[in-house]
């Protein structure tokens, strides 16, 4: 399946882009997506980040489906 990955703040800067398409094996979870993304980016940068799936906070074990939007969120500081 394919998911859309969104990157923000220092993750976006490090990757040089804010969005990418990520092919994943079937039955992939957020953790799978993170592992594939780190391989793609060539570094273990995701440690400490939160994750949202389809605009909602998710956990590493959240299951993904075709077309999901997976956002990697560095610690936030709104307001």
């Amino acid at each position: 399946m394919n998911v859309t990955v969104l990157l923000f703040a220092d993750l976006r800067v490090a990757a040089g882009r804010s969005e990418l398409r990520l092919p994943l094996p079937e039955a992939a979870t957020v953790r799978t997506a993170a592992e594939h993304l780190e391989r793609e980016l060539g570094e273990r940068r995701l440690q400490g980040a939160m994750v949202a799936v389809n605009e909602r906070y998710a956990t590493p074990s959240t299951a993904l489906a075709e077309g999901d939007v997976v956002a990697f969120l560095p610690p936030v500081s709104g307001g």
């Binding site: 980040a49 909602r56 998710a58 500081s77």
Partner: protein, 152 residues
């Protein structure tokens, strides 16, 4: 935006231009609501001892609006909230400019005051927003919080 929140005339917005606080207060004003509590957050300078030139606010806009609506539903549960208005500004803001406005109207003062306080705390913890603060010594991302969900 969730059903109950939208139906109540609430407002959850992400904007790029100056927030019109007077307009928000007008929207929160009605004879049925005797109490309006509000919070305005702005770019502070000096911050941690250093002058701030500006802050660049970056946000995940669709999720910001979704979190605002979810939080308003949570905070409004069991309370009599007449209207709940949340506006967050993104882009480049100078010291003194308002980045966040939260306005809550209720028939009851405790509902308005406590809901406003809980909304502000929740928004600070949960809104997917990042600040790049620029001062005399250069720029850096402001250290954030990872309270809203498990981290990798």
């Amino acid at each position: 935006m969730s059903g109950p929140a939208a139906a109540a005339g609430h407002r959850f917005e992400v904007v790029r231009d100056a927030i019109d606080v007077a307009e928000l207060l007008r929207e929160a004003s009605a004879p049925a609501w005797g109490a309006v509590a509000s919070f305005l957050g702005s770019v502070r300078s000096p911050n941690r001892g250093a002058q701030v030139e500006h802050i660049d606010y970056e946000g995940y806009e669709a999720m910001m609006r979704a979190e605002m609506a979810r939080l308003a539903d949570e905070v409004g549960s069991g309370r009599d909230l007449g209207r709940c208005l949340i506006v967050h500004r993104l882009g480049r803001l100078r010291p003194g400019e308002i980045s966040l406005a939260v306005v809550v109207a209720s028939p009851h003062r405790a509902d308005a005051l406590l809901a406003c306080q809980e909304l502000v705390e929740g928004l600070k913890a949960r809104l997917p927003v990042w600040k790049f603060e620029v001062g005399e010594a250069g720029g850096a991302y402001v250290a954030g919080r990872a309270d809203a969900g498990p981290t990798l």
